[in-house]
């Protein structure tokens, strides 16, 4: 009994010693809903380890109540900061107020909340419209004024990535009259549907001879479509340009094989910018911007796709 009390007090003591140096940070993750989410968790842990941060990880298994409980336990433990990837946008006010009262800064990762912006330090995320725009601008540059009929594989109808990535791409090609989206259908973000819908595009567009480029809202659909193009006897990457978004490992294999042309990265490294902002905040109280936009980097066949594949394949995608 005495021993246990002693250990508990030692533990409390270590917490107290750690305070002020941003060494203990709690991370409430949504769960493992997708490969990208798993990669985000892996990268966050790697970033924390590189910086010597003691990361307390909590998996909420897609439930908000688990996340709120995790946040309360982080507050009770007296962590220095909290990273939160919120599963839904609403219902965070009271727990964020508790964190604010305990003077623990909260950084949102990837998704936003509807609460008062004063309740969190900053939010790190990607701009979906920007991603689409980067893809569109790449295509404008790649075709260089030649006429180009584009087919588009949309994400799940009505989902925000599908809407924003479509709008972004249209903004990206807005100035170029030579580029025209001739067919646009949903492929539900899956390989199977990507392949199936691409087959029908090829049928409808003269066996694919009238298609100059494919824009897919995610890499998985592009990977499926590439197979459909190959089976139709065309060369993906040459006869039909392929540009997509996400930068998952499999698209780098396609890039390395010359079957895809470009992908826009949705980086799983949201924690890096978050840790940078926290470091600056703890060092001299610098208040970061309320929204830190991650870089939507464009990868083409020239960016060592084989090496990128090796670097990413073990992240848990």
């Amino acid at each position: 009994m005495l021993k246990r009390t002693l250990m508990a007090s030692v533990a409390v003591f270590t917490f107290a010693a750690g305070a002020g140096h941003a060494q203990t940070i709690g991370f409430s993750q949504i769960g493992s809903e997708s490969g990208w989410r798993a990669a985000e968790t892996t990268v966050t842990m790697q970033e924390a380890e590189n910086r010597g941060i003691d990361l307390r990880f909590s998996d909420a298994q897609q439930r908000q109540e688990n996340q709120i409980a995790a946040l309360r336990s982080f507050i009770a433990q007296g962590v220095d900061a909290i990273l939160l990837a919120p599963v839904v946008a609403t219902g965070w006010d009271s727990v964020l107020e508790e964190a604010a009262e305990a003077e623990i800064p909260v950084v949102l990762l990837d998704r936003m909340v509807d609460s008062d912006p004063d309740l969190y330090l900053t939010a790190v995320g990607s701009d979906l419209v920007h991603e689409g725009r980067v893809a569109g601008e790449w295509l404008v540059e790649a075709v260089d004024g030649a006429d180009c009929r584009v087919v588009e594989l949309q994400g799940t109808t009505g989902s925000s990535p599908a809407i924003d990535r479509k709008n972004g791409f249209e903004q990206g090609i807005a100035g170029a009259d030579n580029i025209e989206i001739v067919r646009s259908q949903t492929g539900d973000f899956t390989r199977t549907r990507g392949k199936e819908v691409m087959e029908s595009f090829l049928q409808a567009e003269n066996g694919g001879a009238d298609i100059c480029a494919l824009y897919a809202h995610n890499d998985d659909m592009a990977v499926g479509a590439i197979q459909a193009i190959k089976e139709a006897g065309l060369n993906p990457g040459q006869d039909i340009l392929v540009v997509s978004i996400d930068a998952v490992p499999d698209i780098f294999q396609a890039l390395a094989a010359g079957e895809a042309n470009a992908t826009v990265e949705l980086t799983p490294n949201m924690a890096g910018p978050a840790f940078d902002a926290l470091e600056a905040y703890f060092a001299d109280g610098t208040m970061p911007e309320k929204f830190i936009q991650t870089e939507s980097r464009l990868y083409t066949q020239a960016d060592d796709p084989a090496g990128e594949y090796e670097a990413r394949k073990d992240l848990g995608y």
């Binding site: 798993a38 259908q185 390989r191 199936e196 029908s200 595009f201 197979q227 139709a232 006897g233």
Partner: protein, 349 residues
């Protein structure tokens, strides 16, 4: 033969009508060319893309004929696809992968069959369990990722061609013929129907209904395994989250469009397969027509409603009456003779 034709006449007519409708939007529907050692054309796409639903519908027809339902087939597809991809990934080779996937399907069917036949759990509940749990099992096998593999022999099953015809189409045609012969050239079909009409009475007459029920669910699991193998081979990867997602509903719809009663009893596998082809023609037609994707499901729903209303017990006899009435006026004497003949052969269908 004529009785079979008469049984599937509404489905054939519907299929023709749907094809004509698609042809309005896409006049070159029947244009089939031969490139790259494969036939390319919209009808080819339909019979290839319709393979999973057609296969599921074969197994589902038998299950529904016993007054059951199998909601787990989509999840079983995911499990079997994941097992096959895992085996290939482990380097077991083509035949081992096929064997493991088919055995996995049969085990899933056995599980459903035991719950229904031995524990007397209602089929919709018994199969719901595997429908929900199955994707979890599949995710455990793939480790939560899309498990990709590189094996040309296995991919051939999904995207290869045999004499220009897509292999998936060959698989469902052969499976359909196999199941058709099995139930119609033996007494099995009749026994399945009798279970569906009255389980208790059938058991009392000496039919081993328990074994037969389990066998029927295992047959459905077998068909789902084939569908899962095709779906996995097609994209060269096992996607536990999306493989066969909601296809159980399309399969049930195919059986219903095929004019089979959900209350069990008489069934026609051929009609169910035609139902699957009708659904796939609608799906492909929607993709070809180039409507915004928001309309996809609405258009499909409207067409399905029209088809089901036309085939409903209220409307179909009326249509048949009008049709027969017209024929009667032109060739009355011949008609009565054939109908007598048909009455004689009716029970054998």
């Amino acid at each position: 033969m004529t009785t079979v034709l008469r049984r599937v006449a509404p489905q054939l007519l519907t299929l023709v009508a749907v094809i004509m409708l698609v042809s309005i939007y896409f006049p070159s529907f029947w244009q089939i060319v031969y490139v790259n050692e494969r036939l390319v054309g919209i009808p080819i796409d339909v019979i290839k893309r319709g393979a999973p639903v057609a296969l599921l519908a074969i197994g589902m027809t038998l299950v529904i004929a016993t007054r059951g339902i199998d909601l787990s087939v989509g999840a079983v597809m995911a499990i079997c696809g994941a097992s096959a991809a895992w085996s290939i990934d482990q380097g077991f080779g083509l035949w081992a992968a096929l064997g493991i996937a088919l055995v996995a399907g049969l085990i899933c069917g056995l599980w459903n069959g035991l719950l229904v036949a031995v524990f007397d759990i209602q089929p919709i509940v018994a199969t719901l369990i595997l429908m929900v749990a199955g994707r979890g099992i599949a995710q455990l096998i793939t480790g939560g990722t899309i498990l990709t593999f590189d094996n040309d022999a296995f991919s051939y099953l999904g995207s290869g061609t045999l004499l220009g015809v897509p292999v998936p189409a060959v698989i469902w045609v052969l499976t359909g013929i196999g199941f058709g012969l099995l139930v119609r050239r033996t007494a099995l079909g009749l026994l399945v129907e009798s279970i569906g009409v009255n389980l208790r009475a059938s058991t009392l007459t000496g039919i081993n209904s328990r074994v037969l029920l389990i066998a029927v669910y295992m047959g459905s699991g077998f068909c789902a395994a084939l569908a899962g193998i095709i779906a996995t081979a097609d994209i060269r990867g096992a996607d536990a989250n999306n493989a066969g997602l909601w296809l159980e509903l399309d399969a049930i719809l195919a059986v219903v469009i095929g004019g089979n009663s959900l209350l069990g009893g008489r069934f026609s596998i051929l009609a169910s397969i035609l139902g699957a082809m009708i659904i796939q023609t609608i799906n492909t037609g929607i993709l070809l027509a180039g409507f915004p994707s928001e309309f996809n499901l609405v258009i499909k729903a409207v067409l399905v409603i029209i088809i089901l209303v036309l085939q409903s017990p209220r409307v179909l006899p009326q249509l048949a009456y009008l049709w027969r009435g017209r024929r009667d006026r032109s060739q009355r004497p011949k008609q009565s003779q054939t109908s007598q003949q048909n009455a004689g052969t009716e029970t054998k269908t």
